[in-house]
């Protein structure tokens, strides 16, 4: 049951071999037993989960079940969930029981899915190791000395450790793909605008995008079918025809042109990662694809550009946390400004403060053109590089991360080293392109390696096809640490 795909679980529920209440109870038991070790969940609420399961069982009995009805899904604690503590990994929101549901939560509720718990994450999604969480670090199920990645570290751990059949994540600079790679699971950040940001606590609004994390590309397709769709409450939500993201899964890959950016196969990638990626590319050649070298000359600037734009947007978004309407308020203070200053100093952790300060600085008078506008210009050059590359290929591949999972504590004192673990992933956020990671083997210390697949805008169905065909020919995605 714990290793079953979403399709298998759905079939078992439809054939009444198991009820959603039984399935949910089994996962809750597993979380209760194993979460103290992993720390993948911040909040578990058996009562609320089981009430949803009972409702799902009624839907199934009434013949109203969809593909996800009755299936437990772990929700990242960045999605506002009515009646649930929603902390975003921060002390600032450690008392915030959301009065409303995020668009993504509404969609899962309408589909009859079960919220099995809220997953741990880096504070306000700012981090690549889950170590900035107010609720403590998460362990990598493959090696408890290693980080799970971040910011969706709890989500990746929950899926890899089989504490949940699937999970949601969000990705601003790599926060779905990097932890998916480090925990040996599959995850996709869709094209910007496909998944509603309503009720998804904002970090950097022009980069943030929600997406699913699961054991396989096939599962991701089913989850995307539920998660995506127009939401008028999100001003950047795209109005498009409804798609079935599973429609192309079975297509053969003969003739597929895979672009390999030379900048991503240069120094910086460790030998063990390179070897696993090369083997995966050989498998793709066996499946009939051809590889072509492409160039993304401005790609190395993605990290500096990202660390201007993301903090700039964050400094604006996080100004709402002032201790007036909700969230943490300092116990003692003088005037109003002092209340703001103390509440924010106490409520935010070191990394969040650092990014607010960077953002405030680059937006301040006299520096705006030199940093913010400069970064926006480079953002365009990076997007143009991708547009050029897609003239020579259908899809782009490379490593998701330069190394396998690092040790807990190894980089937490060095922000720049931490930032560089998103060196391959942040460009897809700057351009808004869809990108995913799938497991393709193991590197040093038997820690997982992820293959990064970047698609052109709205090519999710094709990317999932490309990932699924690989997963039909290999079994890396079926391997589990537990």
């Amino acid at each position: 049951m714990f290793n079953a795909s979403l399709k298998q679980l759905s079939l078992q529920l439809a054939e009444k071999k198991i009820s959603s209440t039984e399935l949910t109870t089994e996962f809750l038991k597993r979380i209760k037993a194993l979460n103290p070790e992993y720390n993948a969940f911040i909040t578990v609420n058996e009562e609320l989960s089981l009430a949803q399961a009972q409702a799902a069982d009624k839907m199934i009995a009434a013949g109203q079940a969809g593909p996800l009805t009755g299936i437990p899904i772990a929700q990242k604690d960045i999605f506002c969930t009515k009646g649930w503590l929603t902390t975003c990994g921060s002390k600032m929101l450690s008392n915030f029981v959301s009065p409303y549901d995020a668009g993504v939560i509404e969609r899962f509720n309408q589909a009859g899915a079960i919220n099995i718990g809220k997953t741990n994450m880096d504070e306000f999604a700012m981090g690549s190791s889950n170590e900035t969480s107010f609720y403590g670090p998460v362990k990598n199920p493959w090696d408890h000395a290693a980080v799970p990645g971040g910011s969706s570290g709890g989500a990746a751990c929950a899926v890899a450790a089989r504490l949940a059949p699937a999970a949601t994540g969000t990705d601003t600079g790599g926060s779905i793909r990097q932890p998916a790679a480090l925990c040996g699971i599959s995850g996709i950040k869709p094209t910007y605008g496909l998944v509603s940001r309503y009720g998804m606590i904002a970090f950097a609004s022009s980069l943030d995008q929600g997406g699913p994390m699961a054991k396989s590309a096939e599962d991701l397709a089913l989850l995307l079918n539920v998660m995506t769709g127009f939401d008028p409450r999100d001003s950047t939500s795209l109005q498009r025809d409804v798609e079935d993201y599973a429609r192309d899964l079975q297509k053969p890959l003969a003739g597929l042109r895979i672009g390999l950016p030379k900048e991503y196969f240069a120094e910086g990638m460790s030998k063990d990662v390179e070897s696993a990626i090369e083997k995966a590319l050989d498998e793709y050649r066996k499946l009939g694809a051809q590889t072509v070298e492409v160039s993304l000359p401005n790609a190395p600037l993605a990290i500096p550009v990202y660390y201007v734009l993301a903090p700039a947007e964050a400094s604006s978004n996080l100004s709402r946390f002032d201790g007036v309407r909700y969230g943490h308020r300092a116990k003692s203070y003088g005037d109003l400004a002092d209340m703001y200053r103390k509440s924010r100093a106490e409520g935010f952790g070191a990394e969040v403060k650092r990014r607010i300060l960077i953002g405030t600085y680059v937006l301040s008078h006299g520096y705006y053109d030199a940093y913010y506008i400069k970064a926006q210009k480079l953002r365009r050059l990076i997007a143009q590089d991708f547009a050029e590359a897609y003239k020579q290929c259908d899809i782009i591949m490379g490593p998701t991360t330069p190394t396998v999972a690092f040790n807990l504590g190894e980089k937490s004192g060095d922000p720049i080293q931490m930032y560089l673990s998103d060196i391959y992933t942040s460009a897809a956020n700057l351009t808004g392109m869809p990108a995913m990671s799938i497991p393709v083997g193991f590197g040093d210390k038997n820690r997982p390696v992820g293959l990064h697949i970047i698609g052109n805008y709205f090519s999710e169905a094709q990317m999932l096809n490309v990932a699924h065909q690989y997963q039909l020919a290999t079994d890396w995605h079926l391997q589990s640490p537990v």
Binding site: G193, R344, S364
Partner: protein
Amino acid sequence: MTLSVSDVKRVADLAYIEIDEDEAKETLIQLSGIFNLIETMQAVDTSTVEPMSHAQSVVQRLREDAVTETDQRELYQSIAPQVEAGLYLVPQVIE
């Protein structure tokens, strides 16, 4: 570009985050490193490039000027740090 402790304090003040001398010194070291990384942007000539503010070039949607929200004041204020008579309380601002 060289940052100073007083720059860090000024920015913290703009961001409404209380910071003491030791924290400001520690933050200065880290921000200086991050700005060294950011400075690598300046190597590329972008004089003829238009800034890109957003991933998708879409226009702002408009909607009918109609009431879409219902009154949920009690629910929303139930999670506020301090309310009285339907108002959010903060330290006195006007003398």
